[in-house]
């Protein structure tokens, strides 16, 4: 992930110039570039879109996806919705958290993994399910914990 860089942010914003309702696409791209939506990005975006800083901040803070600080090097999203609950997803999720020593939304001290809750990945007949760095994983078992631990190094 790149460190905050206003020129790069302006480049990203420029790519969405003239688009209807450009704020969400811009925020997605800013987060993809910097790993989060850095605080200095807010006034830059606000200026470009003729919005107030409060309006941009309001949008950033409304959506679960946008982070105000970087996540770990890997992000594991574990589904906590009903279909995964019905196949003991909550018990397994607890084992994941214990294994990596984090709470929901937490990052390991070495910064290698963030574990977040998600509410449904649409893999509801193949649960419990998860997403590691954007890649879906279904039919999780206790063994998956070791597999994922290996994958995140």
């Amino acid at each position: 992930m790149a460190a905050w860089n206003e020129a790069q942010a302006n480049d990203i914003i420029g790519r969405h110039a003239g688009r209807e309702g450009a704020l969400l696409p811009i925020l997605h791209d800013i987060q993809a570039a910097f790993g989060h939506v850095p605080a200095p990005a807010v006034p830059v975006i606000a200026h470009a879109l003729n919005l107030t800083r409060a309006e941009v901040h309001g949008v950033v803070s409304f959506y679960h996806d946008f982070r105000d600080k970087p996540a770990g090097r890997h992000v594991l999203k574990l589904c906590r919705a009903e279909a995964c609950q019905s196949v003991n997803g909550e018990r397994l999720a607890k084992q994941f958290l214990d294994r990596f020593g984090v709470e929901w939304g937490g990052t390991t001290p070495d910064g290698r993994l963030t574990i977040e809750a998600t509410y449904c990945l649409g893999l509801c007949a193949s649960g419990p399910s998860a997403m590691l760095d954007g890649e879906v994983i279904g039919r999780l078992t206790k063994d998956s914990i070791d597999d994922i631990a290996r994958e995140v190094g």
Binding site: F62, E82, Q85, Y119, L121, G122, A125, G138
Partner: protein
């Protein structure tokens, strides 16, 4: 000639190793000199068999599943896989789960290469749009109305009436918005279409645009569906290249990605989000059909509604309306999920009973224990006990029992479920996802969760249950949208149908 081997690329197949299986097949067949062409398809929706690979024979396709990478060597031990292999499931169409279905919206899903326009046309694609153009806009709207199609997102509003309202509203610009913010747990029908047959959605939206006079469409896809986003964007690019979208077709289409807010599945909240704002619900009126996206008349439909329109136009409203029961016409993609042996997509005419769906089609629970509760219609849907298994799958029948069919998700729980925890979760979920605009939902969900915690701890259970019941009344009648308004369904159905789980002092005594 190379034999075509079909390996799904659907996220639910990839999640259980389909990519690795495809790579192993490529490697093994190359090593053995077996001439094959691997085609990545969508999923048939028989998820307990995924990865389900199929290959072409003179007598149709033969399926094998669930295939693990370690099985690939034995599958291709003597050339192409033989029907005698332990993983052979025969012709997929003959598997009872698939054979009993009426596939209309999902006719092509799992069969075609989702990104092949030639496949799409060869399997009946674009016939709906061609017929719409020959009928003209007004008759196209009329055809959708006559089909009896109702919104598949859950509200069940007649699609044709929505279209007519937009068609009759004069404006310099109108929009078609596809709600692909499929956030309900237990549902994946939208995802399967986007990953397995994206052109049917493009065709449905083009028909809607033609019918109401809109030239721009947006597909709002949740960010939890990266695979669907990729396929949909590529499908749009392919359609543009062929002139099926763009200036020549007088219809533009664009994918927009959500950002993890469940409430954006509510139509006005989705419009706010598309406009680049917080996804907060708008008060109605004005209806989106009059003042929708950027204040312009907007058709906002669920993905399945739009993806069903091409069939209705191509084959006629009567054929669609001939299926179903009462005021629920046509088919519904029922999505069997959770603790169920045969989980997957079952498209059928309305009218099957819940018991038939769970026990006969789903084969009971995956754990082998008795099914105890079934949540229908996502996190805002009611929990049904066994004694209501004779309820027919129909908008009105479910509404009469203080439930909803929603987007068609059916989540099965076995007898280890604690319904007090499920009731608590419904309130907690509402608190996490509330947009904050109206007080009953924003505050009521938090206070409700706290009160449920007290009940679970066994504190003044009777008084606290009365409080939750009262709070649910406030949520139901005082909330601005379905999030607060329907959260009482799972909560109250759990309390009403499973009272024994709320008798905490007795439960604790029994445990000790």
């Amino acid at each position: 000639m190379a034999t075509r081997i079909f390996v799904p690329r659907d996220a639910a197949a990839r999640a259980v190793g389909a990519d690795k299986v495809a790579a192993a097949i490529a490697e093994e067949t190359k090593r053995k000199g077996i001439a094959v062409e691997i085609v990545r398809t969508g999923s048939r929706g028989l998820f307990w068999l995924e990865p389900l690979i199929e290959f072409e024979t003179a007598g149709g396709r033969i399926g094998f599943g669930p295939v693990a990478t370690k099985d690939v060597a034995t599958l291709f031990a003597d050339g192409l896989p033989a029907a005698s292999h332990a993983l052979c499931v025969g012709r997929p169409e003959e598997i009872p789960f698939l054979k009993k279905q009426t596939r209309i919206t999902f006719a092509r899903c799992g069969i075609v290469d989702p990104l092949s326009l030639a496949d799409y046309r060869a399997h009946g694609g674009w016939r709906g749009l061609e017929r719409a153009r020959s009928l003209g806009p007004a008759a196209t709207v009329e055809e959708v109305t006559k089909s009896g199609l109702r919104g598949r997102g859950g509200a069940g509003f007649p699609t044709g009436i929505k279209w007519k309202t937009v068609a009759d509203t004069a404006a310099d610009r109108k929009y078609i918005v596809c709600n692909a913010d499929e956030g309900d747990s237990g549902t994946y029908a939208d995802r399967m279409i986007m990953e397995g047959d994206p052109f049917v959605l493009i065709e449905g939206m083009a028909i809607a645009g033609f019918a109401v006079g809109a030239t721009k469409g947006y597909i709002y896809i949740r960010s939890e569906y990266p695979d669907a986003i990729r396929v949909m964007e590529r499908a749009i690019a392919l359609a543009e290249r062929e002139g099926l979208l763009g200036a020549e077709a007088k219809f533009d289409l664009e994918v927009r990605v959500g950002a993890g807010a469940y409430v954006c599945g509510e139509e006005t909240s989705l419009l706010e989000s598309l406009e680049g704002k917080r996804g907060q619900v708008r008060a109605k009126p004005p209806l989106p059909a009059h003042k929708g996206l950027f204040g312009k008349p907007t058709v906002i439909n669920n993905l399945i509604s739009l993806a069903t329109v091409p069939f209705i136009l191509a084959d006629g409203a009567e054929r669609y309306a001939a299926l179903g029961m009462g005021r629920s016409r046509g088919t519904m993609p029922i999505q069997l999920a959770g603790n169920v042996k045969h989980g997957g997509l079952f498209e059928a005419a309305f009218g099957l009973t819940l018991g038939e769906i769970v026990e006969d089609i789903g084969g009971g629970t995956k754990s082998g224990r008795p099914a105890r509760a079934v949540q229908v219609g996502g996190p805002l849907g009611a929990y049904f006990p066994r004694k209501l298994f004779d309820t027919p799958f129909d908008y009105e029948a479910f509404a009469a029992l203080d439930g909803l069919i929603g987007h068609g998700g059916v989540v099965v729980f076995d007898d280890t479920v604690d319904m007090a925890h499920q009731a608590r979760f419904a309130l907690e979920f509402c608190a996490i996802e509330s947009c904050g605009k109206c007080t009953p939902c924003r505050i009521g969900s938090v206070r409700g969760t706290e009160t449920m915690d007290k009940i679970i701890r066994g504190e003044r259970v009777e008084a606290n249950l009365a409080l939750v019941t009262d709070l649910c009344q406030t949520l139901k009648f005082g909330s601005l949208c379905a999030l607060g308004g329907f959260t009482p369904y799972p909560v109250m159905s759990a309390i009403r149908h499973f009272p024994e789980d709320f008798d905490r002092p007795r439960l604790r005594a029994a445990a000790e």
